[in-house]
Structures are given as C-alpha cells and as structure tokens.
C-alpha cells in the first residue's frame, strides 16, 4: 500500500507541449529600450529590445527561487523583485542571489514580426 500511496502523490505527465515558437508581435509595436512578457509553452518568456534596437528573449524565471523576472527600464536590466536578483540584457546574472544566467530563447524576425522559440 505504501508504493501506490506514494505514486498517487506524483501527478501523471501532462500532454507534451507542441508549441515550439510564438509570435510576440510586430517589430514596430515594440519600442527600443522596452521589455514584454509573453507565454511560451507553459512558461513565461521575456522579450527585451535594447536601446540599439536588438531583440533578445529568455525564459522569464529567475534562477534563484523561481519568481517571474521583468525588464527594468530605468536601469536597463532584467530584474527579479522577489530577492532583488539582477541580470544584464544578455541574461547573465550580475548582482544579487541568482546563481546562473537566465535560460535563453531564440529570436527570429519573419515578415516584420518577432518570433520566439525554444533553442535547438
């Protein structure tokens, strides 16, 4: 009875996530020096357009304790409000408790629209 009880506590695997790429919006609608959260699979993603107009995207989950990060315009960084973790726009952890960089996503521009996908 112990094994069935323990096994019962672990949820069965859900359906596979088929969504590999999402359309975040038109290039013209995303101004430089801004960030935008979006959903990719069952995760939050963060698309950042830096002051030079370049796009980068990451899984928006802080590598410290799982909070959702955001773009902080006044400092031009990616910031986690939970424990003041800081990342640069390349996703590298630069201050606070995060132990490693944010997980990157691939960004492609197709027909003037920004598409973000899981790497590989």
């Amino acid at each position: 009875m112990i094994y069935p009880t323990l096994r019962f506590l672990f949820p069965p695997e859900g359906p596979p996530i088929l969504e590999k790429s999402v359309n975040v919006g038109k290039v013209a609608d995303i101004p430089p020096d801004s960030g935008q959260l979006f959903r990719i699979g069952n995760k939050p993603g963060l698309l950042v357009r830096d002051a030079a107009g370049q796009f980068r995207a990451h899984i928006a989950i802080c590598t410290h304790l799982d909070c959702t990060v955001q773009f902080k315009a006044d400092e031009s960084i990616i910031w986690c409000a939970c424990h003041n973790g800081r990342y640069n726009l390349q996703g590298a952890n630069i201050a606070g408790p995060p132990p490693r960089p944010l997980d990157p996503l691939d960004v492609t521009i197709k027909a003037d629209e920004v598409h973000v996908s899981f790497p590989g």
């Binding site: 672990f10 069952n42 799982d66 909070c67 959702t68 409000a81 424990h83 408790p97 132990p99």
Partner: protein, 376 residues
Amino acid sequence: MSHSQDKTPPAQLRDKRPDPLARMYGWANERYQLDGLIKFLKSKEVPMTRASIWYYAGGVALFLFVIQVITGILLLMYYVPTTDQAYDSVQYIMAKVHFGWLVRSMHAWSANLLILLAFTHMFSVFFMRAYRRPRELTWVTGCVLLGLCMAFGFSGYLLPWNELAFFATKVGTDIAGELPLVGPLFLEIMRGGEDVTGATLSRFFGLHVAILPGIMTVVLGLHLLMIQRQGMSKPKGWSSLPHSQRRAMPFFPQFALRDMLLWFVVLNALAAVAVFAPMHLGHEADPFAPAPAGIRPEWYFLAGYQALKWLPPTVGPINGELIGVIGMGIVGLLVLFVPFIDRTPEGGPRRRVLDIAGFIFLTGLILLTVLGHVLE
C-alpha cells in the same frame, strides 16, 4: 383543585430537591466521575512570581487556534479552491456575504497573532528553562506545533490566489525543492507538478483544511495532556523556598478564570484590529505576470527571506540557496533538541552560554525580520 394541591410536595421537601444544574451534574458525575477531575484541577497550582505573566501566552495561543478553527469553518461555506474561482470567492466573501469581511479579517489576523504568541510562548519557556526534565517532550511537541502553525500560514496564504500568495508559494516551494536528494520529489508533491498551478492550489487546500488540522489535533492533544499530567513548571529556586514563601494560585478556578478574562480581551482586540485594519485581498494571481516590486512574505518568514537575499549565489562549489536551507534546518534541529542539549545544573556556567545563545538567536531573528521589512 384540592386534588392538584395534594400532589404538590410540602415546601420543606421542595427546598431539598437539587436544582436542575445540580441534577445534571449528578447525572454526569455518576457516569464520568467528574468529582475526581475537579479535585485534580483544584490540586493544580500556578506559581506566582514576576515571570507569571508568561504563563498566559500558551493559553492565548490555544484560544487563537480555536478562533482559527471557527472562522476557518465559516470561510469554507463560501470558498472555492479552483484557480478561476478562488480569488472571486474570497472577494465575494468580503463584499457580499454578511460579515464576511469580518470573518476573513479575523481569520487572517488571528493567524498572525497565533504565530506571534506561539513564538512568545516558545522563547518564554526557553528563558525560564521550563523544557528541562521531565518536560522534554512537551517542548518537542510545542516546537512541532509552532512548525505546524507556520505550515498553516504558508498553505493558507495561497488560498486567495492573489499575486503575493502566488509568488510566495513559488519561492517557498522552490526553497523546499533545494533540499538534498528528496528536494525535487518534495517539490513535485507539493506543487502537484513542475509549476505552481491549480493542482498546487488543490493540494494546499487539502493540506490546510484536512491534513494539518488532523496532525495539529493529535500533537496539540499530546501537548496539553503532558502539561496536565506534569503540571506547571516551577521557576528556578522555587523548590528550595520554604512553604510559607511559595506564592501560588490554584489553577481551577482562579487561574482558569484569569485566562478566560484575557481571552475576552484578546477577542475584543482582534475584532477591533479586524474592523479598523481589514486584510486586503490584493490583485488576482497571473502566472505570466512579473513578480510585483516590493513583494515580501508574511512577517514570520521575513528573517529567512532576508537571509536568502544576503546569501551569495555560490559558496565555493555549493549553491547559496542550499547553504541557506541547510543552515535553517540546522537551527531548527538545534531548537527542537534544546532539552537534550541543555543538561546543565541550574545556574551553571553552561547555562549562561545557552542564555546568551538564546538572546543572540532572538535578537538576530528580530533584526532580520525588521531588515526584511524595511530594506528594498
């Protein structure tokens, strides 16, 4: 007319018949030997010293737990534990249900007060050395009760499904997930999957209203039974005093009545706080929104929260979070096993070391809590 008058017993006999209360007591006493219980309660004495005020903390904590049970059961009548209805149902309780705002506010405030009183009770028992032989297990069950109260707080915090609760649960469960070996399994069981979702809400609801109350009832029962069997701990030097100098008060009814009077004061204070500072609901949780600026956990987790903020990402090859989790675990175990660590005679030099350790721990806890509240 004269017939009914004949049936009435003479006045002398009527006066000798016991009143209904006495008859009820007699009925119960015959079956359950209440005389023996009252004799036992009357034989219990509470030492009257300068430190006697601390004896009330445990009783008030017990009273607040009863408030928690009553208000919790009332909230259950309307609360719906699903991600699409939880927030709305709490909003409905606060806005539409008669006195729903009062019931919810009292539930939330008494939860906070309960933890404050449980901490007060624990530190007073520590500094009065009331945990020593033969009361080691009373201390252990008390520590378990404090842990259960915090687990109640943590699981109940998620139930309104607001954004603060959502991220607090993400962080809290992720910390548990850092435990060596069992962490990832523990995380999956708590969340009901990889992320905090409706499955987590269901599990936390079950934990809050069924599993924890069940465990709490057993442990609380044991704790109270031990206190009744062993009586109140006597302060240092009490036993060496001559009988004429030992000031004590019978537990029943004198101390019990004082206890109850304080409970009424606490109930009124609680109602006043609930009315003038109602608990706000905040914004509904959105799993795809960023953690709001200024987010903080409940005050009783602030010390741990601040410590985690200060920990570096890595200490040598070891993850900073893991160091934090192990450190908090060691502190928790040290507290739990205090009666087995402190086997020094009264007034010995090691006792002073423990006093200083306790003082540093308490000061550190308060300092980290305050800093966790004021620092960005």
